[in-house]
């Protein structure tokens, strides 16, 4: 693997770097990062990946990387690339990732942190009890029929609402209203369906979580007011995606794309970038299947939100009105979407890949109902703070309306496990005021703070660049994990 040690970088500003176009690159690369972040990115091959993505047919303007960039399959995590279908632009499953529509949803409550106090233990136990976690976890919803699964694929979060999980109002507070257009269940294979039927309403493993947070700091009073955030308030975050269903769709289409690359004569520096023109049979098939997986993920997060509400109502013995759980927003950070963007003064419909990147639309940019801009949800790693930000006009001009998505891993799982070996991590977190319940204790070491970049540094970079601005900082009180 090319570590990218030789890659030339030109400094454009304090935290923006350009990789000049060379060889087969069709556009330059652009990386948002501080100088100290770059050394790590370079050593693990992330810069080489930004350069590789610049080879994609039809790529427009730049191959972009957000400051949480780290090595991924083909595309780096934190990568953004837009292609123009009318100029042979491609769609690449590697630019979306295995966990299609992995994303975050944040809910506000009317609870104050002072009210929770000694009830936190009961709350986290109830969450753990109500929400299935772990690798192949199943069972929140009885295994669904093929027909039901097709409804989930077509309708997304709306399906879950129709089943009594949450309410219609939630849909307006979900990216794409929780349903990506163009879903075509015929493009989804039998094995993906088999995995999908079992896992609806489950959290999964790895870095996925449900977290209870307290709002620790407000940076932007006006945006906080519109988002209904205030200091000392209890909020909930859910981070999960399309589970085995999305994984299987990705795996199936990597094979389809390997054939498409041959058929369309596309020359790529890395096989994991396999792709096909958006306007080709393979491209349309993948986008149809990917939308099914995206919708599955939205149905999943919608369902888990409702399960979390039930858990908290049961743990606290209060009415829904007393809990006051409301969806602030739901964003996806692994997706390819057809969006209209202005490029060189002309509005063009582009296929925007965001892999570990979040849409960050500015105020009143359709379909965004907020006066201040779209909420951007940026979770930290386990045990560290998270941020709620707001999308800004600069993101449209510079990054196809995108910003960062999280912290970005800097330490391998094994290294984290070694470093934290023998330590009572759950006990240490408890001493710091964070309750953790995990199905597998090993996950706790792998996901421990220190295994990731400091999320606040990441958020500062996009804040300074004006892609998204800080609204609030959240401190975790309790986490459940797979």
């Amino acid at each position: 693997m090319d570590a990218g040690g030789e890659i030339e970088l030109r400094r454009l500003s304090d935290a923006l770097w350009e990789i000049p176009r060379e060889g087969g690159m069709r556009v330059p690369g652009r990386v948002y990062a501080t100088e100290s972040m770059l050394a790590q990115v370079r050593s693990e091959g992330g810069l080489a990946q930004v350069r590789n993505v610049a080879h994609l047919p039809g790529i427009v303007r730049y191959s972009l990387a957000m400051p949480d960039i780290h090595w991924g399959y083909g595309f780096p995590i934190g990568g953004v690339a837009a292609t123009d279908p009318r100029e042979g632009g491609v769609v690449s499953p590697g630019g979306v990732g295995y966990d299609i529509n992995c994303g975050v949803r944040t809910m506000t409550t009317t609870l104050a942190t002072a009210d929770v106090g000694d009830k936190l233990e009961r709350m986290v136990q109830a969450l753990f009890h109500f929400i299935p976690t772990g690798v192949g976890s199943s069972g929140a919803i009885a295994k669904v029929s093929n027909k039901t699964l097709e409804e989930v694929m077509r309708e997304g979060a709306r399906w879950a609402v129709a089943q009594g999980y949450g309410s219609e109002a939630d849909l307006a507070h979900t990216e794409e209203q929780g349903c990506l257009a163009g879903a075509d269940p015929h493009m989804v294979g039998e094995r993906a369906r088999e995995r999908g039927r079992e896992q609806l309403g489950t959290l999964g493993s790895g870095n996925h979580f449900v977290e209870i947070d307290t709002v620790e700091e407000i940076f932007d009073e006006r945006a906080a007011e519109e988002f209904d955030l205030r200091r000392g308030q209890i909020v909930l975050q859910i981070h999960t995606g399309s589970r085995g269903f999305g994984h299987q769709v990705c795996d199936d289409y990597l094979k389809v794309m390997a054939r498409a690359v041959r058929r369309h004569g596309i020359d790529l520096p890395d096989r994991q970038l396999a792709c096909a023109p958006v306007e080709s049979e393979e491209g349309r098939q993948y986008l149809g299947a990917m939308a099914c997986a995206a919708n599955y993920a939205w149905a999943n997060r919608q369902t888990i939100m409702a399960l979390a509400e039930r858990a908290l109502l049961s743990a606290l013995g209060v009415s829904p009105r007393d809990l006051g759980l409301r969806l602030l927003y739901d964003v996806c950070h692994n997706i390819a979407k057809l969006e209209d963007h202005e490029v060189e003064g002309r509005l063009r419909r582009l296929c925007v890949h965001r892999k570990g990147a979040t849409r960050a639309y500015p105020p009143v940019h359709a379909p965004n109902p907020w006066r201040v801009g779209q909420p951007v949800l940026i979770p930290g790693d386990m045990g560290s703070e998270s941020f709620i930000c707001v999308g800004q006009p600069a993101s449209l001009a510079a990054t196809f309306g995108s910003t960062c998505h999280g912290a970005g891993r800097v330490m391998s799982r094994r290294e984290a496990t070694r470093r934290f070996h023998g330590r009572d991590l759950i006990g240490e977190l408890r001493e710091r005021g964070i309750l953790v319940m995990a199905k597998e204790r090993a996950t706790v070491a792998e996901e421990m703070t220190g295994a990731y970049k400091d999320v606040s540094e990441v958020v500062e970079v996009v804040h300074a660049a004006g892609l998204s601005l800080k609204v609030a900082r959240l401190r975790p009180l309790a986490v459940i994990k797979g």
Partner: protein, 146 residues
């Protein structure tokens, strides 16, 4: 499979990987599956009670290896079935691609006997190239999605 065949775990920032080496293609596929089983649990604790037969096709060897490992992961995810003993492995050319036939044995996971390993989700194509070295042996680096 010969004495010189084997695998070793490699560290990777984002995920986990395996370096796998063998005298033959069949040995390579065999060792890769053993290495995967070693990530999932301790293979020594797995008793071969049930057997599965796999027949797969692919356009090239890289796709065949990823497909083979993802079969083992699918059995694990969908049935809790740990396949740790590879009993047969044959790979041949068919048309302009390759076909694999394998038999693998194992048992349903018993939390009391099988230690919890890594939450491996998929084998990836990242940096994967299967070509014989000058001495005819094979060596690959496999990265798993976690």
């Amino acid at each position: 499979m010969s004495e010189a065949d084997g695998y070793a775990e490699i560290d990777h920032t984002a995920d986990l990987g395996l370096r796998v080496w063998a005298d033959t293609l069949e040995g390579l596929f065999h060792q890769a599956a053993r290495g995967l089983a070693d990530l999932l649990t301790d293979p020594a604790t797995v008793v071969p009670r049930v057997e599965r037969v796999f027949e797969l096709r692919a356009i090239d060897l890289e796709e065949l290896l990823v497909a083979w490992l993802n079969e083992i992961l699918y059995a694990w995810e969908s049935e809790d079935l740990l396949l740790a003993a590879i009993r047969e492995m044959s790979i041949r050319r068919v048309g302009d691609g390759f076909a694999l036939r394998a038999r693998a044995a194992g048992e349903t996971r018993d939390p009391a006997r099988h230690p919890v390993g890594e939450p491996v989700k998929a084998a990836t194509y990242h940096g994967l190239r299967i070509v014989p070295r000058a001495d005819g042996r094979y060596e690959v680096t496999l990265i798993f999605d976690m």
